[in-house]
């Protein structure tokens, strides 16, 4: 991991408990993150964001998590910790 703070972007659903667990994980780690709740979008905006999701995760499932260049699909604490170089 670079010494700089990782850039964290989440594609989530506001209703999804795995997504909520993922958001909580980053908050508990004190890490800044950006998230987009795709279910709250509509029309062209949703299409544009889903195009981004599809490129990162062809399954288009949630949460889709980007940590710098790395993509993790679903809530998997050990994968997240590994990507973030956390114990």
């Amino acid at each position: 991991m670079s010494p700089d703070k990782p850039k964290i972007k989440l594609y989530t659903l506001s209703t999804c408990s795995h997504c909520n667990r993922t958001k909580r994980f980053f908050r508990e780690q004190g890490m800044d993150m950006e998230f987009i709740d795709v279910d709250l979008l509509s029309g062209e905006e949703r299409e544009r964001i889903m195009n981004e999701v599809r490129k990162l995760n062809p399954d288009c499932s949630f949460p889709t998590i980007c940590i710098d260049e790395q993509v993790i699909v679903g809530y998997n604490e050990s994968k997240l910790k590994k990507a973030l170089n956390l114990p």
């Binding site: 999804c16 667990r21 279910d39 599809r54 399954d59 288009c60 949630f62 679903g74």
Partner: protein, 110 residues
């Protein structure tokens, strides 16, 4: 319908099916809140872990309990959301693994 009332209903329903709700109650209440949000939004309890189209006929397979629940419980011990689980999963006799999306790609919002 309140959160607690729906929890009780779904808990009794799960037992009648020979399965259980995930014993992690706060996690389950979060899922049930998602179901109630989707019910208010779409008029039906669409799976909160999947992006719905908002058209009942097109979301029919993911109205909870989704048609993928039983094969997922048979193969992995839990449904995609980890709402419904087998007793073995709840008792820790089965490894808890991430359930892959079984819904065919053609049916998903993509």
């Amino acid at each position: 319908m309140t959160l607690d009332k729906l929890y009780d209903i779904l808990s009794r329903y799960a037992e009648s099916q020979g399965i259980r709700l995930n014993k992690d109650k706060p996690f389950v209440l979060d899922i049930i809140q998602g179901l109630l949000t989707n019910e208010a939004r779409y008029g039906y309890r669409s799976c909160p872990c999947r992006l719905a189209k908002g058209i009942k006929e097109k979301d029919a397979d993911i109205i909870c309990p989704c048609v993928y629940r039983d094969p997922d419980i048979t193969e992995f011990g839990s449904c995609y959301c980890e709402l419904y689980v087998s007793t073995a999963w709840n008792e820790g006799a089965l490894e808890h693994q991430q359930v892959p999306e079984r819904r065919p790609k053609g049916l998903r919002v993509s």
